[in-house]
Amino acid sequence: MANNPSIPGGLTADEVTARYMVREHHPEQGTLLGFWIYLMSDCLIFASLFATYAVLGRNYAGGPTGAELFDLTLIAINTGFLLLSSITFGVAMVSAQAKKLGATLFWMAVTGVLGLAFLSLELYEFQHLIHEGAGPSRSGFLTAFFALVGTHGLHVLFGAIWLVTLMVQLSKHGLTTENFRRLQCLSLFWHFLDVVWIGVFTFVYLMGVLP
């Protein structure tokens, strides 16, 4: 770039290099900001699903209501799994920052197991509901319920797949700058899912049980 003879604006080679150096630094931060903007757009997907649930959540079509269907003990356990997985991922991040590869992989594995425990309980709940004849086609309430909770569950599933992929990359290449950045993105994604879950358990489950 500095070798280009026709530099616009009459800049010296040093000034051009300085600008070039500044640009060099941005991709590092840019990835996290870009990923954050993706999360915000994902937020809007969830917002529309929450809005759908807010509109249809009480349209039971003569079918079962939330108070009849939801098992809050199960949901409390599931919320616990997700919350625990948040702090275990936190420990993985602290370990990764301290350049402890073994500890990072261990805590990522624990996070993955907790994520799968969450998914298993959710699948059990879905299967139980469908078995009772309360599938997504039963009423507007259940369509909105399966769409919202199912989308969250799919996100957790993709997060778990990403987690395993990243564990393979970490064990192959170690805690490189690139892998740490990927870990930071996954950290944002995983904690974001916990934030969405606050909305799900409050508005869908707890308020669905209230008359």
Binding site: A18, M21, V22, H25, Q29, L32, L33, W36, I37, M40, C43, L44, A47, S48, F50, A51, T52, A54, V55, L72, T73, A76, T79, L83, S86, I87, G90, V91, M93, V94, A96, Q97, Q184, L188, H191, F192, D194, V195, I198, G199, F201, T202, F203, L206, M207, V209, L210, P211
Partner: protein, 133 residues
């Protein structure tokens, strides 16, 4: 508290960049606060402690607080991270979120109230609506 989450680093160009510092203490605080802020709403609903209408508003309040707690302690949000741009993106998203949620609920509630055919004592204005269905 957000100063603990981020520490300023000066690179060789003299630019100040804010690098997220992952501290165990912050995760522990976030986890304990979230645990309490989750347990209380579940207890209120499962134990039928308060009247349903009051419970509804209280658990919404707890959800809002837990949202802020997780944003700060888990997602490390503050006004300085990414040069303030991710806070700006969050604020813009919040505005859109409120429009989508409040707008849908408001519009659909009025549709429901004005177009329900089974509603007794249909006035003249409602007959016009019936013809459209």
């Amino acid at each position: 508290m957000s100063d603990q989450l981020h520490h300023a680093e000066h690179d060789h160009d003299g630019h100040t960049t804010f690098v997220t510092h992952y501290s165990m203490k912050d995760y522990a605080i976030g986890f304990l606060l979230s645990l309490v802020l989750t347990a209380i709403p579940f207890w209120l609903v499962m134990g039928h402690v308060l009247p349903p209408e009051t419970t509804k508003y209280i658990i919404m309040g707890f959800a809002a607080i837990q949202f802020v707690v997780q944003m700060i302690y888990f997602l490390h949000m503050n006004s300085k991270s990414e040069g303030g741009w991710n806070l700006m993106a969050l604020l813009l998203t919040s505005v859109l979120l409120v429009i989508v949620l409040a707008g849908s609920i408001w519009v659909m509630h009025h549709m429901n109230a004005n177009m329900m055919p089974a509603m007794g004592g249909a006035s003249d204005t409602r007959h016009g609506m019936h013809d459209m269905q």
